[in-house]
């Protein structure tokens, strides 16, 4: 029996674990806001019973805060659910705009904590391809993680999904410090396996600071 861990499986677990940790952090933050708001209501209710006047505007503002946090948590959980379901099928139709938006949201805590702003210029038309959504999400996560080490001083990364003759392209721009050597180091075994699983290629333009994923319209050999 081999003790070797499957690099693709390991990469996927690492990605999923990091996203889960980030999501739990976000939910805890949201709960902390709700907890303090509810605590404040409890405080002023007790004081009101002793004769203190209630500030109705403040109460209304607290209600708004709590509703906002419930919506925030609901969105976080919806994103978590979408990520979980991206492992349902080895190949499925994917709207690249939606998938990129999901990845920007899921990575937001990580990127913002490191002082980066990640955005996307979404295509006006639907960009649908048939791919393995989880591997593509994982690949985007890895590229974003790498990209944060090679951006310019503006610390901004923009993702540009576009339709291509053979399928679609996703470009990561703003990587002003990108070098061929660093890009070679990035292409570890797990990245190469991921590219093979997605039937896609990576290309770079160091002068313009761009990494591009070239995706086929349909993957030919879905990973089981």
């Amino acid at each position: 029996m081999s003790n070797r861990i499957d690099p693709l499986g390991e990469a996927g677990l690492e990605f999923y674990s990091k996203v889960s940790a980030s999501i739990s952090h976000e939910i805890k933050n949201s709960l902390a806001v709700i907890n303090e708001s509810a605590g404040y209501l409890e405080d002023v209710t007790l004081m009101a019973k002793k004769g203190m006047n209630l500030d109705m505007d403040r109460l209304q503002s607290l209600a708004g805060t709590m509703l906002k946090q419930v919506q925030r948590t609901n969105t976080i959980i919806k994103n978590m659910n979408r990520l979980a379901h991206s492992l349902d099928d080895p190949a499925s139709q994917v709207d690249l705009n939606a998938l990129i938006e999901l990845m920007i949201n899921l990575s937001e805590r990580t990127t913002v904590t490191r002082g980066f702003k990640v955005s996307a210029a979404f295509s006006d038309t639907a960009l649908t391809i048939t791919t393995h959504p989880f591997f593509l999400e994982n690949l985007i996560w890895l590229i974003l993680d790498f990209a944060m080490n090679v951006t310019g001083d503006a610390k901004t990364i923009e993702l540009l999904p576009v339709k291509a003759e053979s399928g679609a392209r996703i470009s990561f721009t703003g990587l002003e410090k990108l070098t061929a050597s660093e890009f070679n180091d990035f292409q570890t075994e797990r990245v190469r396996l991921m590219l093979a699983a997605l039937n896609c290629t990576l290309q770079t333009d160091e002068n313009k600071g761009i990494i591009t994923i070239n995706l086929p319209e349909t993957i030919t050999q879905p990973v089981q």
């Binding site: 805890k28 933050n29 709960l31 907890n35 303090e36 708001s37 002023v44 904590t113």
Partner: protein, 120 residues
Amino acid sequence: MRLLLVDDEEEFVATLAERLSLRSIEADWVTSAKDAEKMIETTHYDLVLLDVKMPKVGGRELKKIIEKKLPGIKTIYLTGHGSEEDYQTGSAEAEYYLMKPININDLIEKINNALGKQGG
């Protein structure tokens, strides 16, 4: 006793400061390390409550900056993030390492303990 609360979750930190104020504990609040540095230039604080994970400059880095200007200041870390390693490191660096959401009575007990240590 005067505290400075630093957390990028504005609604959390503002409401916590209000609740401490209702308990006669003076607490100022800011949402970034940059603003915290400005506050300590003009005000003396006995204790700082720092969120560990904040954009750009996190609580652990901010603690080092604050300590240079206010040597001996007491610190309590606060986080929603909770790996065992984070907990061990954070607990060793600060007086206390608390996980969100917090119980305000527990927090006040920890603040009093931390400042009690200072007097002892």
